[in-house]
C-alpha cells in the first residue's frame, strides 16, 4: 500500500505549504498550460527543472518524488515511443520530459495541500452554484471522496487479482473483472452507509 501514498500530503511549513490553495491551484493550472502549449524541445528541460525545484521547495522526500515519477514513467515511455515513431526523437524527448514535469507539478500541489483544505476551497468556489440548487459542500466532498477512493480501489484490484491467481484463473479476464466490479460497487455502498451514519449529507 505504501506506493499508493506517493501523492499524500506531507506536513510542513514551507512557502508552498503556506500559500493559499487558490494560488497553488492557479499556479498549477498556469504551469500545466505552459508545459502543454509551449511546443519546443528546449523548453522541456527547463519545465522539468522548475517542477523539480517546486518539489524541493515543498521538501517532498526523494522517495515520494521517485514514486510519483515512477507512476508517470510507464505512460511517459509508451507515449514517447509513439511520438518517436510518428515525429522523431526530439518530439519523443519533449513528450517524455513534459509528462514527468506535469506529474511532479501535481505532486508539489498534493504534497503541500491537505484534502480538507482542497474541499474547503472547492466548497468556497462552488458557492455561486447554490442558486442552481447545488450544495457547494457536497461538490468539495465529492472531489475529496473521489481522491480518497483511489487507494482503496487499487487495493481491491490487487486483492481480486491475487484471488484469481490463487485459483489458477489469472489469464481469465472474467475471473478478475466481475468480482472486481462487484467489490468496488459493494465498497461504494458500504462507504455510502458509513457517510450516512456520520450524518454527512443530512443537512
Amino acid at each position: 500500500m505504501t506506493d499508493l501514498m506517493a501523492g499524500l500530503h506531507q506536513p510542513g511549513d514551507t512557502v508552498l505549504h503556506r500559500l493559499p490553495v487558490g494560488a497553488k491551484v492557479l499556479g498549477l493550472a498556469g504551469l500545466s498550460l505552459a508545459i502543454v502549449l509551449v511546443r519546443d524541445v528546449r523548453a522541456a528541460p527547463a519545465f522539468l527543472a522548475v517542477t523539480l525545484l517546486l518539489a524541493a521547495l515543498a521538501r517532498v522526500p526523494a522517495r515520494s518524488v521517485w514514486r510519483a515519477a515512477r507512476g508517470v514513467l510507464l505512460i511517459a515511455v509508451v507515449a514517447s515511443l509513439l511520438q518517436w515513431w510518428w515525429y522523431g526523437g526530439a518530439k519523443a524527448a519533449e513528450t517524455f520530459l513534459d509528462l514527468l514535469s506535469l506529474g511532479l507539478a501535481a505532486l508539489a500541489l498534493t504534497a503541500t495541500t491537505e484534502v480538507n483544505q482542497m474541499v474547503d476551497a472547492l466548497a468556497r468556489w462552488a458557492r455561486p452554484l447554490r442558486v442552481l440548487g447545488i450544495d457547494p459542500d457536497r461538490v468539495g466532498l465529492t472531489v475529496a471522496l473521489t481522491i480518497g477512493a483511489l487507494p482503496g480501489t487499487i487495493a481491491i484490484a490487487r486483492e481480486t487479482r491475487d484471488a484469481a491467481r490463487a485459483r489458477g484463473l489469472d489469464r481469465n479476464p472474467r475471473a478478475y473483472l466481475s468480482p472486481f466490479v462487484i467489490r468496488v460497487v459493494a465498497r461504494a455502498h458500504e462507504s455510502g452507509d458509513a457517510l450516512h451514519a456520520r450524518g454527512i449529507g443530512d443537512d
Binding site: 480538507n116 458500504e190 452507509d193
Partner: protein, 232 residues
C-alpha cells in the same frame, strides 16, 4: 441512559420474483441499559437490528425511536444522537490521513478550519492516536484503524454508540484494545458481536436467531441460550 424503543418494528426485503423475505420479525424492545450486547449466528438479523437504530435500515412496519425521536421522520436528529461503528473500518475511513478523517466528521459542526483541526487533534489524542495524526489511514494496523473509525464517531459526541461486530476482523490483542475502549465509553453502547467474552461484559444481552429476538436477559442466561442454539 438514553431510551431506545422498538415498537413492533420489522424489516422485510423484496426477493426478485419470489415475494419478500423477513430479515427481522416484528420486534418490541425498550433498551435503557448502559451496555447492551446482541449475539447470534451470521445472517440471523443482528446487523439489521443494529442498523435500525440510526436509520441505516428503515423499518418496513412498526416504529423505532431514540430518546423519543423517530428514526424515519427525524433521521438527521437521530444520527446526531446515535453513532455507528462498522465491522470493516476500511469502508468507514474515507480521507487520506487520520486527522483529515476526523475533520470530515466535524465539517458540519465546526466551520473554522483551525478550530476544526484543534478539535480533531484532541479527539485523536483521547483515543491514543495523536502520533498517527498525519499518517495515511492505510498505514495503520487493523486495531488502530478500528479505533480511528470509532474516534470519527466519538468526535460528534453521540449519546449512543452502535458497534456492528467491530472486533470481527481483529486479532486477540486488538480485540481487547477495541473492547476496552468501547466498554470505557460514557455513552450507551449497543454491541453486536460474535465474541462471547465481550458479550459477557454487557448489562443485557439479546440473542437473535432466524430474524427473531429469541432470548433477552442477563449475559449468562443469554449466552447459555445462544450456545444451546449452536450446539443443537
Amino acid at each position: 441512559m438514553p431510551t431506545i424503543e422498538l415498537d413492533e418494528a420489522s424489516v422485510r426485503v423484496p426477493l426478485p420474483g419470489r415475494g419478500e423475505r423477513e430479515v427481522l420479525a416484528p420486534t418490541t424492545l425498550t433498551l435503557t441499559e448502559r451496555r447492551i450486547g446482541v449475539i447470534g449466528a451470521n445472517g440471523s438479523g443482528k446487523s439489521t437490528l443494529a442498523r435500525l437504530l440510526n436509520g441505516l435500515v428503515r423499518p418496513t412496519s412498526g416504529r423505532v425511536s431514540v430518546e423519543g425521536r423517530d428514526v424515519v421522520r427525524e433521521g438527521a436528529a437521530v444520527r446526531r444522537l446515535v453513532g455507528f461503528c462498522f465491522t470493516d473500518p476500511a469502508a468507514q475511513l474515507v480521507m487520506p490521513t487520520c486527522v483529515e478523517d476526523i475533520e470530515l466528521s466535524l465539517r458540519r459542526r465546526v466551520a473554522d478550519g483551525t478550530t476544526r483541526r484543534a478539535r480533531a487533534m484532541e479527539v485523536l489524542a483521547a483515543n491514543g492516536l495523536a502520533d498517527h495524526a498525519h499518517d495515511s489511514v492505510h498505514s495503520l494496523s487493523g486495531g488502530q484503524r478500528q479505533l480511528l473509525a470509532l474516534a470519527g464517531v466519538l468526535a460528534l459526541d453521540p449519546t449512543v454508540v452502535v458497534a456492528d461486530e467491530p472486533t470481527t476482523l481483529l486479532d486477540r490483542a486488538n480485540t481487547r484494545r477495541v473492547g476496552d475502549t468501547l466498554f470505557g465509553l460514557d455513552q450507551q453502547l449497543v454491541l453486536v458481536t460474535h465474541d462471547l467474552d465481550l458479550a459477557a461484559r454487557c448489562d443485557r444481552v439479546l440473542v437473535v436467531d432466524a430474524a427473531r429476538v429469541v432470548a433477552d436477559g442477563s449475559p449468562s442466561d443469554s449466552i447459555a441460550h445462544y450456545t444451546g442454539l449452536v450446539d443443537r
